[in-house]
Symmetry: C2
Subunit: 381 residues, 2 copies
Amino acid sequence: MSTMTETHVPAGAVAAGAKSPQPAPAPTYEGDFVLGDHLLLDCGRVLVRPTLHYAVYGRLDAARANAVLVCHALSGSAQVGSWWPELFAPGGTLSLESDCVICINLLGSCYGSTGPGSLDPETGGAYGPDFPLVSIRDNVRAQARLIDSLGIKKLRLVLGGSIGGMQALEWAIFEPERVERAAIIAVAPLSAMGIALNHLQRTAIQQDPEWADGHYLPQHQPQRGLALARQIAMLSYKSAPLFDERFGRNPNRNGEDPRGLDDQGGGLIAGRFDIGGYLDYQGRRFVDRFDANAYLAILRTMETWDPLHGHASPQEAFGGIRARLNFVGISSDWLFPPGSVREFAYTIRAAGVQAEYREMDSDHGHDAFLAEQAALASLLA
Amino acid sequence: MSTMTETHVPAGAVAAGAKSPQPAPAPTYEGDFVLGDHLLLDCGRVLVRPTLHYAVYGRLDAARANAVLVCHALSGSAQVGSWWPELFAPGGTLSLESDCVICINLLGSCYGSTGPGSLDPETGGAYGPDFPLVSIRDNVRAQARLIDSLGIKKLRLVLGGSIGGMQALEWAIFEPERVERAAIIAVAPLSAMGIALNHLQRTAIQQDPEWADGHYLPQHQPQRGLALARQIAMLSYKSAPLFDERFGRNPNRNGEDPRGLDDQGGGLIAGRFDIGGYLDYQGRRFVDRFDANAYLAILRTMETWDPLHGHASPQEAFGGIRARLNFVGISSDWLFPPGSVREFAYTIRAAGVQAEYREMDSDHGHDAFLAEQAALASLLA
């Protein structure tokens, strides 16, 4: 709400990758794959000839046996080289020499794959708020078609954090013969607190008059609602100790005074603390790169994922997995608390699956899988 | 955003006091005290002849030496009998036979004391968004005048949770000769995460077009923004384990289906989970009983409180305290984490003050001081 000059530049590693020592590798190929027919969704609706946008790093070997699939999180893109550069460092998880790394944009997103902003071939208009619920499994189903089209029989590794980890596990469940190993980072079925956080983010967007029941024009999206949603999410991506260390109780770095006489004409419109300036900056930055309906779509994809749902037992849900599973929890993560990741891993192991759990000690909260990439890479080694 | 029939009745003890075995005692007296002159505030502005609304339970003894002051939290009122009934149970913290219990509504509130909805004698109109920042110490200064007017020299006990605890400690600092004992529950200076939560609540209110820069009419307050603010706050008042136990991943109890085909015409407007229905219910309930500008005013009072601010040392800030201090932290509180309450208590003790720390083991989160009153009473005994 402030009209003051904005000078809030995020401090150091708070911006994920900001101090990465590893230059972002460029994709060998980036393009679209269009399914030739309908994709029947778990919810009962169909997507007509949906597009998957994807990027490839490195090259397939002659046997097409060196493919690695990386799955991205809520607001990520197919360009894994840009957001996970340190995993490509020498000795890291991914190798441009020996791996062919593929990353596919989620359905529902606004980074190239079919989403609410795409044209619905059946109506000729954008899907908008009528975009259907696409499950994690629906995504895996579509991704498998793309992997088929590349002539790849088996994936050496499928990995991802957060919603990316949901996809990695779902790959191991849905395509048991095609996955050698899956790394599932900072994720479990979303808890009630996680669903609550999603619910409030959805409310923030839908209460913005610019949302217009989802029928906004792309150039007039509900910026303030989306920014608030992002800010609510940021709390859940970070940790209280990190915020205390970075921002403490400091006034905003542009000189506003939360305690003093108000210089903006009103007693209730306060000068901000530093954490407030930071959050406002993050919210503003986000609306320039993301679409509100896409955000709503992926929240649904995320919160409805529960591979145990509809099964009589963990054995029934997970017993067919053949891949080795590496679960990683993050000590300060309160969106997907390490205890719930560990419990999830042990439930799956009890179903007879090779599953191990490791914990990353970090103050960065859920975001640690993006903010502390080198530590993650050594944990995955 | 749902238009479905609402059947969400809060489950059991989630509604504070809902299953209280102790009938709420009625006040012996409830009324207003008007300061005869200006109250000069820490921020430099004045409140002209402000009103304090207060309630009294039990009676003063002849020596006026049996007074206990209870301080309320953000959305509380002077009617402590209604929101803390079990503390009046036989053998509890408060006794209608031997104590004269006084509770005073915070300045800035909408429950009788001067706040944004009150008339500013200098302009003849409501303060509205021009209501000044009233500090915790300003409140204590005004409360001391009321206590003076009752002929009370010394308080046997001052106690409160959350913002109430801020007042209790500030009484011990500001009026060292007048407080025998202070009980300070689930509070410390607000952390960066706490300030962040306040910031987003403020944003939610100020983004509601009905807020109208604070100049809304009382019958047209920004209900949706205030409801969202309340819902954000609810997350911080409760705990993840409590939410898991109460709501889990269940669909909303009115039969909405978060996973199925959408029956509301749009793919992005999902059926809610149970936690979503609960939060919506809490938000709606709150706007019927609270005012948005009052909420904004007390957020500022809360977040600007830091008794160490402006002092060279804890010794300088706290060394003058003569009261015995009882700090209580709540094991599952993530708004005021028990570690920060303990550290705060030990900092004060290191300044030579009689301060002890106890921890309440509860899954209720910050709200435990309202939701588990019997346990609190036995901890304070």
